[in-house]
Symmetry: C2
Subunit: 307 residues, 2 copies
C-alpha cells in the first residue's frame, strides 16, 4: 500500500495550485493600457536617434519630430541638411486648416527674389511615396483597413502594405509629417512640411512623401488659430506663428536635447497595448469595440529614464 | 436612286454628334467636389430644423449644432429643455484633450451646494446608444469599415449598422457631439456635452449617446488651448472659455438665427460627392485612393439662399 501524502505535502500542493491559478488569472485578465505600460520593461522602449530627430522651437514650446529614413531616405537627408543650415530659423507656420493640416515653411517661397536659399539642400527630390515591402519590419494589425490590404506598424510608424504589389507606405495618421509639394511629384524637397491635425486623410497616402511623426508637442500645432484664407493659409503676415529655430537633436549639446523614448512596436508589450485598446474593459465601457483602426492605436512616448 | 444628304443636313448631323459626345463626356468625366456642389439643385440641400438646432455662443463666435432626435430623442428633448431654461449661460468649456474631445458644462456639477439646478430637465436618462435599424433611412457607403459591418449616412449623420443585430448607431466622426456620462449608463442627461476634435474615436460608438453634430464653428472648439490637467481638464477656472449663452434656434427671432443648409445624404448629388472624394482626379493626385472612410466623407454646409 502506498503511503498517504503527508499534510505538509498536501499544503504545498494546495499553495502551488493557488499560485499557478493566480498567475494564470493575471495573465488572462485584460489589462488597461496604463497597466501594460506600467508593466513594460526598458527593452520595450527605444530612444529616438538624435541624427534623425528634429526639434522645431516655436514661441509656445518645442515640437519633436522623428524622421523616417527607412521610408523617405532622400527627404530625411535633405531635411537634415536644411536643419543644419538653419534654413527654417525665422520662417513661419503658413497654414492651419481645420480637420486637416498645419503647414510651415518660407512665406516667400514663390518669390524668386525673396525666398530663402537652400544652400546645399536639393530643390527637387524623386518621389518617395511608397517603398518595397521586402525587408521592412512589420507588425500587422488584426482588423483590416478601409484603404489598404494590410496595415500595421514598422519601427514605431503606422504603415500600410499591399502584398500583391510588394509595396509599403507610411499612413497619414494624426501627427504624421509630410513634405508639401505642387503638382510635380518631385516638387516637395522637404522645405515645406505639414503635420496632420485631424481625421487621418488617408487619401493622401501614396501621393506625397511622409517623412516622419510628431512625437511631442502636437498641441503646439493642433491648437493654432485656423487661417482665414483658402485652404487655411494665413492672409496677414502677422497672423503667422514664427519658427524660432529648427535643429537636429544631434547638433545640440546633450543638455539642450529633449530625451524621449518611444514604445517599440515589435514586442509582446506592444501587442498587449493594442489589445488593451481594441477591447476596453474598464468599468466605463459597456461594449468593447473588438476592433481598432491603424490610426487609433496610441504610440506612447516618455521621457527617457536617467541612466 | 436615293437623294444624297443635303449639306445642311450633314452639318446638323455632325453638330448633333458632337453635342451628344460632349454631353456623354461631361457626364462620364469624374468631377471634383466643387463641381458636384456647383451643379447641385436646391432640392439637394435641406435647411436645419430650428426646433432641433442649438447655438452655443462663445466669445470667439457661434457654434451651431444640429441635434439628432432620430437617434437620441430623449437626450435631444432634454437638451432642448435645458437650452430653453438658459442652463448653459455662464457655464464654460471644461476640457480640451488633444486628438480627442472638447467638453463643456457646469464646472461645479459635482458640488451639490453649488451646481446649477436643472429646472424641468431630467437628471438621468435611459441610454440611447443604439437604435433599431428598422425604419431608418440609410445611404450605405461602398468601402466597408473597420469597426462595424456597414456604414453610411442617415439624414446627414454618419451611421454604423449591424444588420444581423438589427441595430444602428451614430458614429464618432469629427464634429459629432455626445452627452458625457459617468460609469452609470443613465448618468449622461445632456448637461455635459463634448465634440470630437481629432481622429474619430470609434471605440466610443455604442457606449455613449451621440446627440448631434457641429455644422459650423468647429474651429472655435478644435483650436482651443489644451487643458493641462488629466484628460485635458483645465486646472484653473480662468483657463476655461466661458459660454455666453446656448439657445435653440427656434427660440430666437429670425434675425438672430444663423440660417444654414446641409447637403442631403440621400440623393444622386451626394453619391457623386462621395465618388468625387473616393477617387480624386485633380492634377495633384497620382494614385486615387478608390476607397473612403465613413469619417472622411465631407458633409457640406452653406448659408441658406435668400428666398
Amino acid at each position: 500500500m502506498r503511503p498517504a501524502l503527508r499534510p505538509s505535502t498536501l499544503l504545498l500542493c494546495a499553495l502551488a495550485l493557488v499560485a499557478s491559478a493566480a498567475i494564470a488569472a493575471a495573465a488572462a485578465k485584460p489589462r488597461t493600457m496604463q497597466e501594460v505600460l506600467d508593466a513594460s520593461q526598458p527593452s520595450d522602449w527605444r530612444a529616438l536617434d538624435p541624427a534623425h530627430t528634429l526639434y522645431m522651437d516655436l514661441p509656445g514650446g518645442r515640437v519633436v519630430i522623428e524622421l523616417a529614413p527607412a521610408f523617405a531616405p532622400l527627404h530625411a537627408a535633405n531635411i537634415e541638411t536644411l536643419a543644419r543650415a538653419r534654413y527654417w530659423d525665422g520662417l513661419a507656420i503658413l497654414r492651419v486648416q481645420d480637420n486637416f493640416v498645419a503647414q510651415w515653411g518660407d512665406p516667400e517661397a514663390d518669390q524668386p527674389g525673396k525666398r530663402r536659399p537652400l544652400g546645399e539642400a536639393k530643390a527637387t527630390l524623386p518621389p518617395e511615396f511608397v517603398r518595397p515591402a521586402a525587408g521592412l519590419p512589420f507588425t500587422r494589425l488584426p482588423d483590416g483597413d478601409v484603404y489598404a490590404p494590410e496595415v500595421g506598424f514598422s519601427d514605431g510608424f503606422p504603415v500600410a502594405r499591399d502584398p500583391r504589389r510588394g509595396e509599403a507606405w507610411l499612413a497619414h495618421c494624426y501627427g504624421m509629417v509630410g513634405a508639401g509639394r505642387d503638382n510635380a511629384v518631385d516638387s516637395g524637397p522637404g522645405t515645406e512640411l505639414y503635420a496632420v491635425i485631424g481625421q487621418a486623410p488617408r487619401q493622401l497616402d501614396r501621393n506625397i512623401a511622409l517623412v516622419g511623426r510628431v512625437v511631442q508637442g502636437m498641441e503646439l500645432l493642433a491648437a493654432l488659430p485656423r487661417g482665414s484664407g483658402p485652404l487655411g493659409f494665413y492672409e496677414q503676415p502677422q497672423q503667422r506663428v514664427p519658427i524660432l529655430r529648427v535643429r537636429l537633436a544631434a547638433d545640440l549639446p546633450p543638455a539642450e536635447r529633449t530625451n524621449l523614448e518611444v514604445l517599440r512596436t515589435d514586442t509582446p508589450t506592444f501587442a498587449a497595448l493594442v489589445e488593451s485598446r481594441r477591447n476596453r474593459r474598464d468599468d466605463w465601457y459597456k461594449v468593447p469595440a473588438a476592433h481598432i483602426d491603424l490610426c487609433n492605436v496610441p504610440l506612447p512616448v516618455r521621457a527617457a529614464p536617467k541612466r
